[in-house]
């Protein structure tokens, strides 16, 4: 069952008169109920902005320029006031990047649960302190925390525990979709692995739809069903996670994969990605990745590539995934020998 359908989403930041930064460009996206999707890219590629747009968290100077977002049959792009609040109650929620610092330092964890449960209580619902304690303990159990955490203040908890508390807070309202914005970035590897495992288990058991936003392709591939790679505001590749390390890809995805190596290997060779992402305040004529791309052909500088089938998914690349709709792309692909390039 389809849960989220977004079409032609554009987000513009307008920090001052005359400056317009196109952070998300013409994104189409469909999520099925219960899917676990990763959104990957470098800082500034628009992945968090897209997550904010989908959950209606954008604040000035950012705004949704145009595009339609349908969530569970409701057009959420035009919602406001109480109707939007209702969607936040049982509809969608977001775990923020700075979740570790998002807790109020002078209130106990139980107070946090009380706030969220009472603020979103339906008519006739009443949460006594005892009820908050019972529900809080139950939710903490889901993220593998002891109920005695309820009486603690945020500073008494470690980073990993605070992150678990913020996940438990989001679970309190039983949302249908949760966006996790870099939930483990500030944590060390062992804690990161444990938190990601909990997120995966919760997603499987509770069946919510999840979007994991991260710059770390390794983390995303380990936990998600499907991965979308973003570059300069666009989705440039969309593949099942299991298929991503095999076969041909968008050259940008390949470059991201080149940033990883096994520290146990005999020889280590890290590629990195030369150059830097384009200036998003300027219009882009062709493929945004062309200036950094080793495969770029003439057509790449002229025409924006659409998402076209590649392997078990799709990619936006004239050379690797020539689109039938773009005249000349097939020729460029043939010239670059895309079909014959061996998998690295």
């Amino acid at each position: 069952m389809m849960l989220l359908h977004a079409q032609g989403v554009n987000v513009v930041y307008e920090p001052s008169r005359g400056t317009r930064i196109w952070s998300v460009r013409d994104v189409d996206l469909t999520l099925q109920q219960g899917e676990f999707v990763g959104l990957v890219g470098e800082s500034g590629c628009g992945k968090s902005t897209l997550g904010f747009a989908l959950t209606r968290m954008l604040r000035a100077p950012a705004r949704l320029e145009n595009g339609a977002i349908h969530f569970n049959g409701v057009d959420v792009a035009s919602l406001s006031g109480e109707a939007l609040r209702r969607q936040r109650r049982k509809g969608f929620a977001i775990v923020l990047q700075s979740a570790m610092n998002a807790l109020n330092p002078v209130r106990t964890i139980q107070n946090h649960f009380g706030d969220i449960l009472r603020a979103h209580a339906g008519p006739g619902d009443h949460y006594s302190e005892g009820a908050v304690r019972r529900r809080g303990a139950e939710l903490l159990g889901k993220v593998r925390l002891d109920p005695n955490v309820l009486a603690k203040f945020p500073h008494e908890l470690s980073g990993g525990m605070r992150q678990r508390v913020s996940i438990a807070l989001v679970l309190a309202l039983e949302p249908k979709m949760i966006v996790f914005d870099e939930p483990t970035t500030a944590l060390d590897v062992i804690v990161q692995k444990a938190v990601m495992q909990t997120i995966q288990e919760l997603q499987r058991d509770q069946g919510f739809t999840a979007i994991l936003i991260s710059h770390d392709l390794g983390v995303v591939l380990e936990s998600t069903d499907r991965v979308m790679v973003m570059y300069a505001g666009r989705i440039v590749e969309d593949q099942p996670s299991k298929a991503l390390v095999r076969g041909l890809h968008h050259p940008y995805t390949e470059a991201l994969l080149g940033c990883y190596a096994d520290p146990r290997a005999e020889e280590i060779h890290l590629e990195g990605i030369p150059g830097s992402p384009p200036d998003l305040s300027k219009p882009l004529a062709g493929c945004a990745y062309a200036p950094r791309c080793p495969l770029a052909e003439e057509i790449c500088w002229k025409l924006v590539p659409p998402l076209a089938p590649l392997g078990s998914g799709a990619a936006a690349c004239h050379v690797r995934a020539p689109s039938a709709k773009v005249p000349g792309a097939t020729a460029a692909a043939a010239k670059a020998g895309a079909g014959t390039v061996a998998t690295k």
Binding site: L221, Y260, R264, G272
Partner: protein, 283 residues
């Protein structure tokens, strides 16, 4: 990657003294609720020979940063000694520390917090030049441009006047590195210098640190939980767990043949695209 234009004479390593950490412990007394003692470092000993790069690896709370603080003189060990050449670091007073900081510099973890948002790139890099080397403003400004070039922020004129918020995380970390190099230190302590950066930017900063070490002959203490980074730039590593050294040896050897359970755990926790889904793709 741009080649740093070796400002200091190669072969400087000969003049860099070794750092010898002997039997250092640090015990914090915890007051209030849950009072007691917290052992952050438990009889730790190691040596960084001149021009070598040592990795200090462990999860959060393992005592890595406490050791860094003791080595840079901002904390004093409860027992044990830290010697930089003939200098007893743990006994330095305010004046001694000042001249010590000319020789030992630190690269901090969070490039978003290590720079003052109200000051330009040039200001940050010029401060140590004026403070430690007594350079005039105009001489310092020339040197700032040279340093920016060394860390790959080119053209320097374009970066010097920028404020931190106008730079990306990787660029900010390069400013922090330029500042650490400004007074021509003999030892650089880098505390998780890439953990706040995108994976795609990490290799650039790591390569820069490796090159600077090779070209300038400085010693490097690299503190991290990222074993891949440690593998790339260090010769030797020490694995810390709860303040104790649980394993040590040549980096490649330790990673390929880990003996301690904790080292294995750290290795297994790394998320790589290739380990996931059991695909045996190698690059």
């Amino acid at each position: 990657m741009r080649q740093p234009n070796g400002q200091s004479a190669p072969g400087k390593a000969a003049s860099v003294p070794p750092l010898v950490v002997s039997d250092v412990s640090k015990i914090y007394t915890v007051r209030g609720r849950g009072r007691g003692k917290f052992i952050a470092a438990d009889h730790v000993s190691f040596t960084i020979p001149p021009g070598a790069a040592l990795g200090l690896v462990g999860a959060s709370g393992s005592g890595k940063s406490t050791l860094a603080k003791m080595i840079t003189g901002s904390e004093r060990p409860t027992s044990g000694s830290i010697k930089f050449g003939d200098l007893a670091v743990e006994r330095l007073g305010a004046g001694g520390l000042r001249s010590y900081h000319r020789r030992v510099q630190m690269v901090f973890q969070d490039p978003y917090a290590a720079l003052n948002p109200l000051h330009t790139v040039a200001y940050h890099v010029a401060r140590p030049l004026q403070n430690f080397l007594g350079m005039s403003a105009s001489r310092a400004s020339e040197r700032v441009h040279e340093l920016l070039e060394i860390v790959g922020l080119t053209p320097p004129a374009q970066f010097a006047g920028k404020l931190p918020h106008q730079l990306s995380g990787g660029q900010r970390q390069r400013v922090v590195i330029a500042r650490a190099l400004a007074c021509d230190p003999e030892l650089v302590v880098a505390d998780e210098p890439v953990s706040m950066l995108d994976v795609s930017l990490r290799s650039g900063v790591l390569k820069l640190l490796a090159e600077l070490r090779a070209n300038r002959g400085l010693s490097l203490l690299y503190i991290t939980h990222d074993l891949l980074g440690a593998r790339i730039i260090t010769d030797e590593i020490l694995v810390l767990h709860k303040g104790k050294v649980v394993e040590r040896g040549a980096t490649k050897h330790v990673l390929q043949h880990p003996k301690d359970e904790y080292t294995v755990q750290l290795l297994d926790a790394i998320a790589t695209p290739f380990a996931a889904n059991g695909a045996a793709t190698t690059h």
